[in-house]
């Protein structure tokens, strides 16, 4: 694999030619915030938290979805990027009803962690306070739409790793909602194998195991990457 040389935040780095800016940065020990990206799944570039500046391009580019090129000059932490990231996180909080104090994932939630990382002290936008439901029709799991950030990690984990595609998103804009099968309650979705991969992939407390209470839900999203890597070795 051909090598590429680039700079990230002024540091000279070499990367493989098929790597993304995100991968190259991580290998060099530079962290870029992400949310919709999950190791082991395809990229959708949906959350825009990983936006970086690339010299010569007026547009910001998503690091998870941009391949490195020779001589690329990348900035990951400018005041402009910081302001955008904070705004994105605030918008995510304003869009649904995130009440960390009563959430199963509190303390183990990627959204909560991001809010800390970007220094979100308060939300400057009006809360939409949408009317969201909680579906606990499945025997083992539940989904609380109040906490869903529409990252589609569950959709991709179920489709790409379990090979099922129980989940998808219906509607658009503020009406967009995660659905199972033909918009039936999860417990009636006949395609679901109850494997729990969507639960592993979810960054927030939206998908939870039944019976877990406040701050009890700990899970390891990197297990998705482990499963994918183990499979690739076998085949």
């Amino acid at each position: 694999m051909a090598a590429r040389t680039l700079t990230i935040n002024g540091t000279l780095i070499s990367a493989r030619s098929n790597e993304t800016v995100l991968e190259a940065a991580r290998e060099a020990g530079i962290s870029i915030p992400t949310l919709c990206h999950l190791d082991g799944l395809s990229e959708v570039g949906a959350c825009r938290l990983c936006l970086v500046e690339i010299a010569g391009s007026p547009k910001l580019q998503p690091a998870c979805h941009t391949t490195v090129t020779e001589g690329m000059e990348v900035q990951t932490d400018t005041p402009r990027l910081k302001a955008h990231r904070r705004a994105i996180v605030e918008l995510l909080f304003a869009e649904r009803n995130h009440i960390c104090a009563v959430c199963v994932a509190s303390g183990h939630c990627e959204l909560q962690q991001l809010a800390v990382e970007v220094g979100m002290s308060h939300v400057r936008y009006e809360y939409l306070s949408p009317d969201c439901s909680v579906d606990i029709s499945h025997a083992r799991f539940g989904i609380d739409h109040n906490r869903c950030v529409l990252c589609t990690r569950c959709v991709r984990a179920c489709d790409e790793v379990e090979g099922v595609h129980t989940w998808d998103i219906a509607g658009r804009g503020t009406n967009a909602r995660l659905i199972t099968d033909l918009n039936v309650p999860w417990g009636e979705a006949t395609s679901c194998t109850s494997c729990g991969k969507c639960l592993l992939a979810c960054p927030t407390g939206a998908i939870f195991s039944r019976g877990s209470t406040v701050a009890e839900l700990e899970r390891d999203a990197s297990r998705i990457a482990t499963i994918v890597a183990a499979r690739n070795e076998r085949w």
Partner: protein
């Protein structure tokens, strides 16, 4: 009723024929998954709206997950999962029409009909809909009533037309 639309004749025979046409459309596309939008278009055109049974049958035929089919059917404004009214009035909210007062026009029609944009009256007489640019910007603001475009639409004139459709016997 003078203007019975095809969807107003749900006899078994008509149903059969529509199923055959839908089946032929899928066959023509070799039941390919990427023909989903064309197939949904045809189903919507044939039945006036998409029922869950129909969506499930299409998912099976094209070997697509039901959630994907449902997601696509609810993403595009063109598709409707609820029966549409006998008459339809679509107000364009594209940029040109917006600038020429489409919002006030829509507000007037909402007030006159008591309907919110995107909904159908309880008696299924009228659906009040919106669109983004009908490609008729030169005559903005544009409104389509039962398939016919009206340019330079005047709120008072449109109000009267909507009232007439609602009051029709």
């Amino acid at each position: 009723m003078a203007t019975a639309s095809p969807r107003e004749v749900p006899t078994d025979q008509a149903n059969d024929k529509r199923l055959k046409i839908l089946e032929a459309t899928m066959k023509r596309h070799q039941y390919r998954a990427d023909a989903l939008i064309e197939v949904l278009h045809k189903a919507q055109e044939l039945y006036g709206h998409l029922t869950e049974d129909r969506l499930l049958a299409i998912a099976h035929s094209l070997h697509l997950p039901p959630s994907r089919v449902y997601g696509v059917a609810t993403f595009y404004h063109f598709f409707s999962l609820t029966p549409q009214g006998e008459h339809s009035c679509t107000v364009c909210l594209g940029t040109a029409c917006y600038v020429k007062g489409a919002m006030e026009l829509l507000a007037a029609l909402e007030a006159e009909s008591g309907l919110r944009a995107g909904s159908t009256s309880a008696d299924r007489k009228l659906s009040l809909l919106t669109a983004r640019c009908l490609g008729a910007c030169g005559i903005a603001p544009a409104v389509i009533v039962d398939g016919n475009v009206t340019g330079h639409a005047d709120p008072e004139v449109m109000r009267a037309r909507v009232r007439a459709l609602l009051d029709e016997e």
